[in-house]
Amino acid sequence: MNRPTPLLILLFIIMHFLGPFALQAQMAALSGRMVLADKQAEAMGVQITLTPGDQKTTTNEKGFFRFDQLPAGQYQLTAILEEYQKLVRTITLRADEMLVIDLELQPEPVFLEGVEITASPFDYRPYLTDVVSREQIERMPARDVGDVLRSQPNVSGIRKGGSNLDPVVRGLKFSQLNVQTNTGQKIEGGCPNRMDPAASHIDINDVTRIEILKGPYALRYGPNFGAVLNLITEKARPYESWQLHAHAIKGWESNPNGTKEHLTLQGGNKKIFFALSGNRHDYGNYKAGNGELVPSSFFKYNFAGEAGFVPAKHHEVRLAYRNSQGRDVRFPSLPMDERSDNTHLYSATYRYTNGESRVQSIDARLYRSDVHHEMDNKWRPFSDTVVAVSTIDALNQGGRIDVGIRQKAARLHVGLDYENIHKEGERIKSLIQQPNLPVKTEDLWKNAAISNLGFFGEYQRQQTASLDLVLSARLDINHGGSDAMVLRNMMGGEMYRNDNTSSDFVNVSLSGGISYKISSALTLDVALGRGVRNPDMVERFIILLPVGYDNYDYLGNPQLAPENNHQFDAGMTYSSDRSGKFKVNGFYAYITDFITGVRLPPAQVMPQTAGVVGVKRFQNIDLAHMYGFEFLWTSPQRFPFYINLSAAYTTGFNPEATRYLVQNGQVVATEIVKNDPLPEIPPFETNLRLNYPLLNNQLVPQLHLRWAASQNRISQAYDEQTTQSFFITNISVSYQLSELLSASAGVSNLFDVAFYEHLNRRIIGSRAALYEPGRNFYLHIILTL
């Protein structure tokens, strides 16, 4: 294998020492940092114009900008960022001076993003919060949300095909994560095998921002066991006067060969405003680095509309609709492919914001997410004998209300949220080699429903100038139920029956954290929390389908207890002009009532899927442990380039797991495995990104090096396989051709390395790995009017 570690170290050293020398070549210059005043966060993507000379640049990911080779004199600096007030400053530059300034952008008074997670000056958090911006998204050859999420430290994705990656944060996945869109709207995917996870129903080109709140600490946004993923989409916004804007993207990729298109129209005035958007993705199969063609093609299109109006000062109402369609989406790691997906998302929101009032904000939302999902095995060899078609309707509807009250240095958020999930579906099997063409219909879900009513409170206080405090709590009342879980054979006889399908829980989640500024450069963060999640639809009600990582049919258990995560995070941030910004964070999670699969003997229930070795039922086990860290270094602004170096690691284990020994497709013995690593945990990974802005930031080449270690800590209980390490090189360049037009192009997996992620599922019916795409050339043209 490659030996990337010395190379990374060498690059790191070269870059670290190159910067100051490069700096000596610069003479009269202006540089600085833009901060969003309301969020106290770096302002990325701010368009800055310097006149006379009409020089233009855009702030980078850390809010920095720079103009070089400026003659002495007086300039006017203009900074423009959507949803913020235009900023104009007069700057006087002396000869040979390198002036550094800090500027703050104030939000536009008519459009306060009060509902978003990162919307308030009080939203400091003593735990890790990663944000992916639109600029980062548009730069990547991203085909769906999962592609983008994987670029973040300790965030991975389970790949089963060419798209619809299922996110994993710090080794936690599925319902251990709280995935939502626009702060409150949940989506329930249709497929029991999660070929359509919630994030896959949102088009990546509609996403303007992704927020990842790690740990069980943010309790305002629904039950949170391990992390909140909030996908903020393109929205309507008011304008001072009638305006109409457009944003369009056209993208081409070579591997997989495909194109994507995106268009957004936004317009309106102070009172009435709207947004319309549409997307189309048409991609073929991709070729892995070893030349293997992976059947992974897909076609998706969608459109969305949102209308808003301001009935009175401080009040705003919005109505939104989104329709998303998928066709012929291939999943070589699953027994079926998606034939069609038709998703409708509706939402109505009301917002009250008044910075001068004690009740500063009221955010209310009602939503309905309606997924109709159809999948079949018609592209599989087995369809020569049995043609299986599954149709599922998954409905998630609910709402939330959040009231923000401020008093001096403290703010309190209280509110409630409600979610109701309902699922129905069937699988029709046509035995096309049999006389009389027998057809067997099986229920996948029997009118299954889960409802959750939650009450939450979050108290934030700036205790002293250097000490911030956050306390959060929520109470969830959960109910699950279904018609009797019954599986019948062709003759109508019962092969499995469970009438005890109802369960009720009352859960308490708590968290607290402090952020302590030891000095202007050094901050310590500590957070402690207990997050509780209720068992999901699959864990409660699935009836003998191979939905797990291992080769078993799985049986739901309506009597499962909630899973509890007791987690501790400690982080340190050091930031200086000379060294840049260092951030290191460690966490430890103690999970009780951990939900896993436990084998049932064949005498109790027989498997129904060809080739599986038995049946596992979801059960709570005593506990599991998880721990890991994230590290991040960003170069100081005095460097003429920008470096981002990150590393992340997570591991976990089950103190006492049961391993089933299989011979000739039969379980022949069991053994206890002490401290068995948890399955599907990504290995240690490090990323280095180097941006070198040229032509006053108009042209920004980027080098991205990624190294993932081998994963040898594998679960014996889940018959997991090891994964080799890999080293990938990506290059790209973005170019701001004009105020209207920009482009980004690049090559991912430059050296056409054949590799697969540890979380990629195996090709169905084999132990063969599902490889990642090989070399891919891409080009995005972005038009903004």
């Binding site: 006067s241 109409l244 369009a248 012929d328 018609k378 009389n436």
Partner: protein
């Protein structure tokens, strides 16, 4: 003009070149996923005097019929338009030990599946599958 467009240089294009907006919409949303139907034909030839035949028709129903071929050259055929992904199914049985039964499915004139049986009065001869996707 209802919309008063000003203050943003790029809007000039929309105001004066409305075709650009149309092009953008077409580029962004142009072309949905439409599949062409296929012509499916079932063919049966046999020298048996009676054949019990089953087939799935264009509406998805299983039809059962009895054929009385006039001889080995006599051909029974049934055609219908099918969507890609539809199940096609043709199955037959005869009672005479010396007889031959040949079943064939063609899709758009090309042989998709075929099978033949001679002297087997026990088993059904079946050809079946799914109309392939383009």
């Amino acid at each position: 003009m209802l919309l008063k467009i000003k203050s943003y240089p790029g809007l000039f294009l929309i105001k004066h070149q409305p075709w650009l907006l149309l092009v953008l919409i077409i580029v962004a949303l142009g072309g949905c996923h439409k599949r062409d139907d296929k012509m499916v034909t079932y063919l049966v030839t046999s020298d048996a005097t009676e054949i019990a035949l089953q087939y799935r028709d264009g509406t998805g129903l299983l039809q059962k019929t009895i054929l009385h071929p006039a001889g080995g050259q006599d051909e029974w055929r049934h055609s219908f338009a099918a969507e890609q992904g539809d199940i096609v199914y043709l199955s037959g049985k005869y009672e005479e030990g010396h007889a031959t039964l040949k079943l064939m499915i063609t899709i758009d004139g090309k042989i998709y599946k075929q099978a033949q049986s001679t002297g087997d009065t026990i088993k059904y001869v079946t050809v079946s599958g799914v109309v392939p996707y383009d």
